[in-house]
Amino acid sequence: MALLRRPLLLLLLIVTHQFLQFRIAFGSVNEEGQKQEEFYEELLLKPFPDRKLLTHFHFQSSAPPSTSNGHHHHLFPKAISQLVLKFQVKEMELSFTQGRWNYESWGGFDPIPSSNAKPPGVELWAVFDAPQHLIDALWKNLTHTLSGLFCASINFLESSTAYSAPEWSFPPASGKLRYGTLPREAVCTENLTPWLKLLPCRDKAGISMLLDRPSIYRGFYHSQRLHLISTGSGSEGMDPGIILEQTLTVVLQPDSQRASLAHASEKHIQPRWSLSSIFGKRISGRCVLAETSNVYFLLDRGLVAELEHIHKENVLISEKFWTNPSFELSAKPDRIFIEESRLLSKNASVLYKFEIEKYSESEPFDLGLFWKTPVVWLCQQAPLHASRFLMGSGNERGAIAISLKSTQSSEAFMGSNSNDERCELRVDVFQVVPWYVKVYFHSLQVFVDQQPKAVSDIIEKIHVSPSKDKVSPGVMELVLTLPCSVSSAVLTIEFDKGFLHIDEYPPDANQGFDIPSAIVSFPNFHARMVFLENDSLNKSPLLSKFQEKSPVMSYTEVLLVPLTTPDFSMPYNVITITCTVFALYFGSLLNALRRRVAEEERFLKDKAAKKMGRIPLLLTKLFAKLRGRHLEGPQAPPASSSFINSKSVLKVILIAGLAACWQYYFS
């Protein structure tokens, strides 16, 4: 619809489309041919419907394959290239996240959420280019290296209970992938500083100057990500080329106190903001080492549609578009891009580009936005909204439920697809559970639209690797095929809570244990934004990233499972009391077995005496005396008193002798 309204643009589309494809296909070849280390810095700003602002920093450094062994890098961080070489990493992603991406109001379909919305804490995955039997060892060393490099406890991912090897449900499907998360890792500035050190200009110049720590960590969500791909050496003796992509995604609330106070009636107007008001800094020129240094301002499809609906005309791409009736940008964009929409019914998003090169110390860049009229819009959602929760009470057992709810946008999406005979929605679910959550996979149940369904009808493919106590976590990979008309689907699976050894509980054990996020991906949907009219496309890694065909992914919440705790304070009591019971058992049983009643004993002794000669009898008497018991028998009673006397005399003499010796030797 939108495109039909612009015949000129449509023409341009047809002409440039082929050209674009051509440029993309040859882009990588050009890079290899250039043999130059490159660095790009970009910043994307995007307003959210809930008065928040997304700032997405994107830095990319690349090193081409080279023959020189252990060579010096100009721009590329040496620590990373050494790491890639040493651990034969083919692809790796490390993210530090605090907060939770709000899929409902921040969207889940764009390239930004599907590749930058990460689970809380640390997530690390890596694909190795090594024989299968070496991979675990490489992973362990890699975690330790990264742990040192980023000042984080990534080394906890070393233990085999913390990582898993997904077979196919995690996007870079490969048998050589290892995946691990630490949901409880606290992320702070000590992780950001080493991350910034990898940039050639650090935070001294260019876009990274904006990274003011207090304003970043004041945000609702921040995720710092490091993604690297080694492009493979191709021939022997060549170091692999590496593309390192560092992104920092921060969701901030512009401080709109003053504006709302001034105009109480204009409460519904989106807050006004500027870079200097949210970060307290301005960009004073680009990082001179960067190839390009751009700031983008993105208006997403929903917002563009809403604005066009309000003004009934294409104000956004007309002349003086930066000061239109709805909002006003404080700086004039250098270029404007409009998304090539695959579906005609869809609106296209609009991207404004600001080049930093033009700005300098004396004239710093500051982008501000001032809304004139209130706008309400929705970000584009993933086809299904995934959430996860625990069921059951008590500390013995429970159930995990993953619920998939149809979103408004997906209905529209389905509407266009519903011409097909059998419209099916494919959903991949990847879930890792720690071993102390003992999942009963046979108890998997599926409810579609609140109706229980046979598991085999819905689940097309399932791969399970059950958890082994203290050895490996449980991994569940599912492919669901749901009918397009589905409004909700729920998967439930029961588990028993494990009981741990006293040493295995972390400090503050009563807080509970985290179950890492499940990953729900939609392989038939691709988060992709192709922008028209950009002849400088290969110069912008961010925009080419947007064009990549990556499946829509979303992470569910982290679950907190309280586990029963033993009494930590009394191991000694338990040990001693249990041992006492065992001693009671052993002693009393043995006593019962060897006890003889009096006459039996006498009878036996008499018999023995009859049999024995004189000397053995004397010997037995002697032994009996030595044992401190006088010999029982008919002849014993009259002598007993003298026995006792002589014994006490003997004892006294013995003690006196000992005392004398003591005195003699130690005086």
């Binding site: 500390n395 009963y440 106590d469 249990t578 065992f582 052993f586 043995l590």
Partner: protein, 459 residues
């Protein structure tokens, strides 16, 4: 026991059997089996029904049933009972078929107990006759110990709970009883089969080989052989026909042969079912290895789980050895002292195992309490029987309460539950020790009856 005596006087045996079966069937029809199948008292990691179902599910999805640490039972059990975990009859409770198998196993066990008990009673009467004590001991007062034992086994709440709670212990108990029945009635292949299966299912019945050897070698329980010799010395006539037979090696070699045959058979079957997944070694590691190393620390009615949850890691192996050796240490003294009463020896072994095993459940207690019924005549003078009875009742009422307080409400802590486990262990110790003393005293009483007054013994 007094109560039971009266009851048996008024009701017939079969009425009670039918009543207990009907009671089980009623309980089976309760929704979700009254949640008994997930009670820690009923389902240990070894006997849990849900784990069996999980193992079967893994097997059906062409994975090793020992993948992960869910299932620790036998692969044969999985092949036999596994299909019953998923098979359903429309309109009936979910696990009806499996529950019916448990009920049948219980009834068969009870019948075998009854047959064995009658056997024992006859043997006992015969030995009294050969000792000429029939006049001095009123035989008419002798209880039908087989009936009593079978009824104790069937009507014991522990047995009912284990049966309705879908644990595998009714099957394991049946194997043990089969072994003892075979040995008592001198059906050597059956005894060997029972012994091999019981050992295969839960390892601990392996030590029953000693009572079985005694049973096969010298026949069922009787007063000590010495008494017979004494008796006949007194009479100055040595009547060989009235003497109990001496130890004979024939049946034992026969038994060893059959045991070997059955174990090869069982191992071959297991090997076939585990061919693709690691083979027999995998099975031994996750069944016997799991039993011996006490890997699972979830609460049960034993004492080891909490001990190993609290003990320092570097002492773990030492204590594992100590606790397992505790069972082995007692084998020899008991065998020496009770060699003339092999069935009683078997009872004591079963009781000790169920007390000291790594994952005890009420099913194990049900077994030894049932076997206890065989010896009502010998144990008539046992001390503390009221105390023990009250203790058992008290513990079985308090233990679920403490578990609820700890796990579900969170108002109690682990020590609450552990205390009941300790008390339970102590009760079992008292039962075993007092039982042994009572039997030894019974033998003494018989000797006194034979030899006349104790003073005469001296001369």
């Amino acid at each position: 026991m007094e109560k039971l005596k009266k009851k048996i006087g008024s009701f017939s045996f079969w009425n009670w059997v039918i009543a207990s079966i009907i009671f089980r069937l009623i309980l089976i029809y309760f929704p979700k089996n009254l949640n008994l199948s997930s009670r820690p008292e009923v389902s240990t990691p070894l006997t849990s029904f849900r784990r069996l179902a999980e193992g079967y599910w893994l097997k059906q999805s062409s994975m090793s049933s020992y993948a992960g640490s869910m299932y620790h039972g036998s692969p044969l059990l999985l092949s036999l009972l596994g299909p019953l975990t998923v098979k359903r009859i429309e309109g009936q409770p979910n696990h009806l078929l499996y529950s019916l198998v448990s009920v049948i196993a219980d009834v068969v066990s009870a019948m075998l107990i009854r047959a064995t008990g009658q056997n024992l009673r006859l043997a006992y009467l015969r030995s009294l006759e050969s000792l000429d004590l029939v006049k001095q001991i009123d035989v008419s007062e002798f209880l039908f110990s087989g009936d009593i034992a079978a009824l104790i086994y069937l009507c014991n709440p522990f047995t009912i709970v284990a049966c309705v709670g879908l644990s595998t212990s009714p099957i394991e108990n049946m194997a043990v009883i089969l072994c003892l029945y075979g040995a008592c009635s001198r059906l050597i292949p059956l005894a060997a089969f029972g012994w091999v299966i019981a050992t295969h299912l839960s390892l601990y019945p392996a030590i029953l080989i000693i009572p079985v050897i005694f049973l096969l070698g010298c026949g069922p329980d009787s007063p000590p052989r010495k008494l017979f010799l004494q008796r006949h010395q007194q009479k100055e006539v040595l009547n060989q026909s009235k003497l109990p037979p001496g130890f004979s090696w024939g049946p034992i070699i026969h038994f060893a042969f059959w045991a070997f045959l059955w174990s090869v058979y069982v191992l071959v079957l297991c090997g076939i079912s585990l061919k693709q997944f690691g083979g027999l070694w995998e099975m031994f590691k996750s069944t016997y290895g799991f039993i011996l190393t006490v890997e699972d620390l979830s609460p049960n009615i034993g004492v080891l789980w909490y001990f190993f949850a609290e003990v320092f890691e570097f002492f773990r192996n030492f204590f594992l050895i100590v606790f397992h050796v505790n069972i082995l240490f007692m084998i020899l003294p008991l065998a020496i002292r009770l060699r003339h009463r092999p069935c009683y020896l078997a009872f004591v072994y079963v009781a000790i195992c169920s007390m000291l095993k790594s994952y005890p459940s009420v099913g194990d207690s049900a077994l030894y309490l049932g076997l206890l019924g065989w010896f009502v005549n010998e144990l008539a003078d046992m001390q503390f029987s009221l105390f023990l009875f009250c203790g058992y009742v008290g513990v079985s009422l308090l233990s679920p309460v403490m578990h609820n307080l700890w796990i579900w409400r969170g108002t109690g802590n682990a020590n609450f539950y552990f205390t009941t486990a300790m008390v339970y262990a102590c009760l079992q110790i008292v039962l075993v020790v007092e039982g042994i003393s009572a039997v030894l005293n019974h033998d003494r009483k018989l000797r006194i009856l034979i030899t006349g007054k104790p003073q005469d013994a001296k001369s």
